[in-house]
Symmetry: C2
Subunit: 348 residues, 2 copies
DNA sequence: CTGAAAGCGCTAACAA
DNA sequence: TTGTTAGCGCTTTCAG
């Protein structure tokens, strides 16, 4: 038997140390007292033989794996990848490993992924970003492992959600525009059935409008109710049409436009430019997200930065808290955002 | 016993189907003949009971897990994340799962990660991007699982490397500049000890120079030999100094500069601008990598696009080939790159 | 074509 | 303070 070629197991260690496997197991786990002397001997032998416990066998026995499942819609996207980095950072320190799955915005795939990694005895599931429907989770989650949502909605409000305060963020940036002297401020965004954030962002705008002593005016709304594109691209056409209908003689009834996200904001800038408007001289534009492009676009975009890494870290911490049966208060889960001032807005 | 709360196992299925666990196992794996009738019955029951085999138990027995380890320096980076997406795409189709680890450019962490996931009985390891030293792998890889490198060097040339032809790519883009009428073309890049690609890219440049009937002129080289920054940032200072010393009266002895990567190219553009040069009117600049910023920079960068997703997919395929003991020819592993023409170069 | 049973490496209940 | 042993869920050898 060529033992040199294969990793030693707990039995080997026990034999060499002249103790039982139980003692070795407990020396490692610390779950029951082992005399200093024996412990020393065991650890020495462990080191000499380069032993590390077999994670798979341990998982099978304990029905715990030290692995956390992460499901993300895509990887090659600054939002998700940075959140995941945050998760990894915190969880690695606690000794967990990550199994990362990509759902490609497909709920069926997501479900399959969860099924599969569930049988790995993952100790928790963190869902990053994306969509709405997650009722399938309970159906699969027979072992009742903790589930945490990172920057993801849950209409049923069943799982802890680590996110940002969408309403407040939009409210803040609208306030910022009012403070800059704008009197009439419009809003452009999706208003899709069932999308909670769509409603929240609009509410943030409305809140600020009222707070600043104005009346909410529906004609200042460029709200797209179609529910096609989850990522929020392709608002360009929609705004272009709006401008053609409402922007006669290069006049609009607002001097600033709050956009629900950076994609919409960039589309808005481009559509405005094409229709002869100047940003920010004629119209100030704000975005939401602080995507990479927002910095390099011309003009660069005033927007709201989302603390992505922090969201990841916090998600991990929430998970740990659940594991340790510490209770979490909802108020801890909403992170502050920050306004990034660039060139798409101006003081009036 | 409340079986409704827990996942059924193979024994449960066997009992309900009135067959042995062996038969269930073989029905699933197809490794030995099971009568159509029995198979049908078994699969029906599997479906009804929502059974899926326990991956952990299977791994323990088979010393295979259906899991592939991926180690990447960072996640939030278009290069790595897109390669990983490619890997995931191909491997998911083959039924593999991915455990993704982040090494933060730290070899010790990388080693630890490998150790840990090795005990998960991962079936293979794909190392994405980054650094040089990988001799530690054999030391850990007692089970001798296949190792594939994606866009990563290996001085020992021990493992299959899926990458691009750096030399040819740089040679091509230098050719492109010659064809555009440039007679004197410079080169800016790192030349760090032990970095194979540094040498390869420079060789590509030299190859093109000679091919185009010129003599290699050392004074056209802006080569940084320090070995600080692995990512290739902060060339700005270096080039700035060079320009101050060699660019009197806004005259340089070249009209085009081939840069080893996009970061250097962007630094070069900025340094040139600051020193009173116009890009591309005075000097044409090319990069390598086609990073997001290269498109939005002013002027936008003519550069070489790397087929990142393809690299990922191919890495996965190579892994599968190794598993299936198909031999791989080295020539299959080098992917073509593509020149992306933008505004930082001009025809003379 | 099918089954019984050993055993993968570990943990923990029970026993001393 | 330590040891014996059952068993986690599965695959596979050996035996029909």
């Amino acid at each position: 038997m060529d033992r040199s070629k294969i990793n030693p197991n707990i039995k080997d260690i026990a034999k060499i140390a002249n103790v039982s496997v139980t003692t070795v197991s407990h020396a490692i786990s610390g779950k029951r007292h082992v005399s200093e002397k024996t412990k020393e001997k065991i650890f020495k032998i462990i080191k000499e033989n380069d032993y590390s416990p077999n994670v798979v066998a341990r998982s099978l026995k304990k029905k715990e794996s030290g692995i956390i499942g992460v499901i993300t819609p895509v990887l090659n996207n600054e939002f998700y990848s940075e959140i995941i980095e945050g998760i990894e950072e915190s969880l690695r320190l606690k000794g967990y490993m990550l199994v990362i799955n990509i759902s490609h915005f497909n709920i069926t795939k997501e479900k399959e992924h969860f099924r599969k990694i569930d049988s790995l005895f993952i100790d928790g599931l963190i869902l990053v970003g994306g969509f709405t429907e997650i009722s399938y989770i309970d159906e699969i989650n027979k072992r009742n492992i903790p589930v945490v949502l990172a920057l993801r909605e849950d209409p049923q409000n069943k799982y802890p959600i680590v996110s940002i305060d969408f309403k407040k963020s939009i409210s803040n940036i609208t306030d910022f525009l009012f403070k800059s002297g704008h009197e009439n401020i419009g809003y452009a965004g999706w208003l899709r059935e069932g999308k909670i954030t769509d409603r929240k962002t609009l509410d943030g705008y409305i809140e600020s409008v009222k707070k600043n002593g104005k009346k909410f005016n529906k004609s200042l709304l460029i709200a797209h109710t179609a529910s096609e594109d989850d990522q929020g691209h392709n608002f360009y056409q929609f705004i272009d049409t709006y401008l053609k209908q409402n922007g006669n003689n290069r006049k609009l009834n607002f001097t600033a436009l709050v956009c629900q996200n950076d994609y919409i904001a960039i589309d808005a800038i481009n559509a405005l430019k094409k229709n002869g408007f100047n940003v920010p001289n004629d119209i100030s534009i704000t975005g939401f997200g602080n995507i990479a492009k927002s910095r390099y676009h011309n003009p660069s975009l005033t927007t709201i930065a989302i603390p992505r890494k922090k969201i990841g870290r916090l998600s991990a911490e929430v998970f740990i808290k659940i594991i340790n049966k510490n209770n979490i208060s909802d108020s801890d889960l909403l992170l502050e955002t920050e306004i990034i001032q660039r060139d798409s807005t101006r003081q009036l």
